[in-house]
């Protein structure tokens, strides 16, 4: 009975939440309900086929549709996708291989600058001939290139660094990220490679190679609406590929070797696992994911500067992995989604609501004490301003009550 009702209930829930989001395009809550449908899908006891179908329906049809009604939804979805991809990359290094990396954002920055420099007029500053910006068609070539560059920088950082362990490794990776940021910030002289703190713009967007198809179908979508949709699907594809690659690696001798190293390095090497080579591979795979995401980020933002790649970003992604559950793919996805929604929607929504209250002139009445006019609420009392504090509190509570994360790797998941 349950089994037959569950899919129906799910469909009803998805339909209801989408209708809500459609009729109240400004409501943060409505869109949150849509996002929660994916979580429900993951937990509900329905057949895998139903899950895949409904999941695809939500991700491929409903979210883009709602996004074309309210562009902000799409922006949130793209941000979530970017952080999910980053968290999955870091999850390999921290969750599988067990190496604490506090400078993951460095690889992200390298990828972003790779496309930013050559996909904008910036490269003209040091390569003569006025060849730049490269045409948008180069975007996909750079996406592939970034995977190679990411893997190489991962190995380059790994080679000297993997001889140190634990806390020392964390400090070295932290230093690496700061070095990358400092380089990007200061390489505007003597030769202007990165344009320093002023940042680079405009960065080319990916090519609209499907334009003829759309015209053939008679679809007239204005470019301003087309690009967000385009980026959404690109990010979705990227996340899909990353999950696929990670899953295959996880269930192979490589993934088992990674986890063995995490659990006990000496025993792993005694069982024939080449420890250094496997660690390097982990570093390289994680870095190449981050680098590829960086390319996409640069193309989406059009403008980037070193401010986007601070230490706080590294910590943020690490927090996503830890909150979600280290060493678990669903965990990394959920952690990244949750934290991004918290930052972009929940805290912002709360702050809008408080602002509304303030302007409405309502009074907070506390019995026996008196009343307090909400219009006098100080401006500091805006959740967006203490976002990091709320975030920190959540981290602390999580570590006390559920240190293994929300969706830790399950027993018996190794098939």
């Amino acid at each position: 009975m349950m089994a037959s009702l569950a899919p129906l209930g799910l469909c009803a829930y998805i339909a209801a939440s989408c209708l809500l989001a459609f009729y109240f395009p400004q409501s943060v809550l409505a869109f949150l309900l849509v996002e929660a449908s994916l979580l429900l899908l993951y937990y509900m006891p329905v057949a895998a086929r139903v899950k895949i179908f409904l999941g695809a329906l939500v991700l491929l049809v409903l979210v883009p549709f709602l996004g074309s009604v309210n562009g902000y939804y799409l922006e949130v979805a793209i941000q979530i996708g970017i952080y999910v991809a980053l968290a999955l990359g870091l999850n390999i290094v921290v969750g599988f291989v067990g190496l604490l990396n506090l400078g993951f954002v460095a690889f992200y920055a390298i990828g972003a600058y790779l496309w930013a420099v050559f996909g904008s007029p910036q490269a003209n500053a040091f390569i003569a001939g006025g060849l730049f910006p490269l045409s948008a068609n180069w975007f996909f070539a750079f996406l592939l290139l970034s995977i190679v560059v990411g893997a190489l920088t991962g190995v380059l950082l790994g080679l000297p660094v993997l001889r140190v362990r634990g806390d020392y490794l964390a400090v070295v990776t932290l230093g690496f990220a700061e070095v990358v940021r400092a380089l990007v910030n200061n390489l505007d002289k003597p030769i202007n490679l990165t344009n320093g703190p002023r940042g680079i713009s405009p960065i080319s967007k990916p090519p609209l190679f499907f334009q003829p198809v759309l015209e053939f179908l008679g679809l007239q979508i204005p470019v301003a609406k087309l690009y967000p949709l385009y980026f959404y699907f690109l990010v979705l594809l990227m996340v899909f590929v990353i999950i696929l690659v990670t899953r295959r690696l996880e269930n192979s001798r490589v993934g088992r070797a990674w986890k063995a190293i995490r659990e006990d390095e000496i025993a792993a090497s005694a069982m024939g696992v080449p420890v250094v080579r496997m660690k390097l591979l982990g570093f390289a795979v994680g870095a190449s994911f981050a680098c590829a995401v960086g390319v996409l980020f640069a193309a989406k933002q059009v403008f980037i500067n070193p401010e986007s790649f601070t230490f706080m970003e590294s910590i943020g992604v690490l927090a996503m992995v830890i909150l979600g559950g280290m060493g678990s793919i669903p965990g990394a996805v959920l952690g990244a989604t949750g934290v991004t929604i918290l930052n972009l929607q929940l805290l912002k929504g709360l702050s809008l609501w408080l602002n509304g209250l303030r302007q409405s002139g309502a009074e907070l009445v506390i019995p026996l004490v008196g009343s307090y006019p909400l219009s006098q609420l100080p401006a500091q009392f805006e959740p967006a301003k203490y976002e990091r504090m709320v975030f920190g509190l959540i981290l602390i509570l999580m570590m006390i009550f559920r240190p293994q994360g929300i969706l830790p790797p399950r027993q018996g998941s190794g098939k």
Binding site: A260, E263, I266, A268, A270, M271, V273, Q411
Partner: protein
Amino acid sequence: MALLELKNISKRFGGLQALTRVSMELDEGVIASLIGPNGAGKTTLFNTLTGLYRPDEGEILFQNRSLLGLKPEQITGAGISRTFQNIRLFSHMSVLENVLVGRHARLKTNLADILISSKRFHTQENDARRKAQELIELTGLSGREHEWAQQLSYGEQRRLEIARALAAEPQLLLLDEPTAGMNSSEARSLMALFKELVGRHVKAILLIEHNMRVVMGISDCVHVLDYGEKIAEGHPDQVRQDPRVIEAYLGPGSWIERAQG
């Protein structure tokens, strides 16, 4: 021809002479024991053999090939695998995964195979799982495949370590106190297992053991270490009566005299 040959192995840690010119030979088809009081250098000898330590002097020949300077994983690849005195399982991995890690060196799939999920990947993976399953059955852990290693009882963990070591298809199996903490019936069934292994799964077993009933019951040959030096070797009955061995275990003269001094 000896399977394993140690020639004058010495190892120092700072001022401590852990091993002094230890030599031994191990033939095929043999179960040999390494005994000696605590701190005699038995585990150090194992660690030296498996590449965790590098000896200061001496030569290690395995099937007439020198093992000096090889990394632990290369030594495993060459055909020696081991268990640990203080169990070192991969706690947050399933029993099956633990055994599969042992097969790492025998799997030849490369990154491309894994990423495109090639046919070769599937044949090797299925093959590895089948063999791992056989070893799990052999060590009596059937039905526990998908539990995490840390869920197992102490005795089961010891047996899982043996299954994991066997998964690397070694010629020589090194067991560091395999029956420690087991009751006598558990120890007996493990002894029966060891006898079954030699000739069928491995060519020889070298074990460190404190349980003299086990040592005397299954060893074809016993080597005795004391303060890093080899003081005796031979058939169990012979070694049992060796005055130097008795002295090493009980002290010079009687132990009462030693306690008073």
